[in-house]
């Protein structure tokens, strides 16, 4: 029993984080800001990576510039604007609402609205109450009679 507990306890070790901090910040808040920014900024060279993941020279340069800017006390938005000034909206993974990108934001909503509208209209049409009067009954009988005669002739 003792051995079993011991061997089970071996499984409970926490994993050590192998990553060492390459950049040193004055406050934890700055480190967090840096971390967030490098994940949100896109590497202009290897386009499907953020600058935290990329090994391209330009990504390294951008990381170092982000460190400088964060240490100087710039807010997150200020750093993002700084990069957009140089590399265009492209450099940020969160595109702003502009006439060119409007379709990205509007289209999904529009599709949902149109889809639901379609369902609702169909539903209404299907659930229209049938009315049946004596007149209709007379008309129906007449039509049946006519049909019978046609078949016989």
């Amino acid at each position: 029993m003792k051995w079993l507990l011991f061997s089970l306890s071996l499984l409970l070790t926490t994993s050590a984080l192998a990553q060492t901090d390459r950049y040193v910040f004055d406050t934890d808040e700055q480190a967090v800001r840096f971390e967030e920014l490098t994940k949100e900024l896109r590497c202009p060279k290897c386009q499907n990576q953020n600058i935290a993941d990329s090994d391209a020279i330009v990504a390294k340069d951008l990381r170092e510039r982000v460190v400088e800017l964060v240490k100087e006390g710039n807010t997150k938005d200020e750093v993002i604007d700084y990069m957009i000034d140089r590399y265009g909206y492209f450099v940020h993974y969160d595109p702003p609402v502009t006439p060119a990108t409007l379709v990205l934001w509007v289209l999904p909503v529009l599709i949902v609205i149109v889809g639901f509208g379609f369902i609702v209209i169909r539903q209404r049409k299907a659930s229209v109450k049938q009315t049946w009067s004596n007149q209709d009954e007379v008309l129906l009988n007449k039509l049946i009679e006519q049909n019978k005669r046609q078949e016989q002739s």
């Binding site: 386009q47 340069d61 510039r65 000034d85 590399y87 492209f90």
Partner: protein, 189 residues
């Protein structure tokens, strides 16, 4: 009428998607980095690549239309475009080189070997043609970052007032020159 419209709606959507995806096939994903167009050349003070004690500033470059070509001897595409750029120089286009040093890190590499770089550049320009009036050395890629450069080769067209008019990523060949640069150069004359 309404029903007919509804019937062809899927076809319309399909056609739209086709057109959208088709033009995506030929779109160049590197064409969109246009952060600095319409702005003035960022302020800088950087040394000349070939001469000691010579410094270039953004102010010193004003007054003439010129191309700023970002390049390096380590970059094969830059080597490939040197010939055509030299032809352009012969036609009277002023081209200034911005030498992009590939990944130099003072902490790892020790002092920068300027002499070795100069010899390398001279050799290459003698072999492939020299389109440059002069070269500015961007050792720490600071001006490159301010210009939104992501690699080499890249070329900027700058007017007399120092305003950036064009930012082209990739090589300059006759096709690119005709479609992108020539019309603008014509306007500037």
């Amino acid at each position: 009428m309404n029903r007919k419209l509804l019937a062809i709606a899927p076809l319309l959507v399909f056609a739209f998607v086709c057109v959208f995806l088709y033009q995506g096939l030929f779109a160049n994903p590197r064409e969109i980095q246009t952060g600095r167009i319409g702005h003035e050349m960022p302020a800088f003070t950087l040394p000349d690549l070939m001469q000691d004690n010579k410094q270039w500033t953004n102010e010193a470059l004003k007054g003439e239309v010129y191309l700023l070509n970002v390049w390096g001897t380590w970059c094969p595409t830059c080597l490939a475009e040197l010939g055509y750029l030299t032809k352009l120089r012969e036609q009277g286009v002023k081209i200034i080189g911005l030498y992009y040093v590939q990944g130099y890190d003072a902490d790892f590499d020790g002092p920068f070997d300027m002499q070795a770089l100069r010899t390398e550049v001279q050799d290459m320009l003698e072999r492939a043609g020299n389109p440059y009036q002069f070269n500015i050395l961007d050792l720490h890629r600071t001006l490159s970052l301010d210009l939104g450069v992501s690699g080499a080769p890249e070329t900027f067209l700058i007017d007399k007032n120092g305003t950036i008019l064009l930012h082209h990523t990739g090589d300059i060949n006759p096709r690119v020159w005709r479609s992108k640069f020539a019309p603008m150069m014509q306007e500037l004359k």
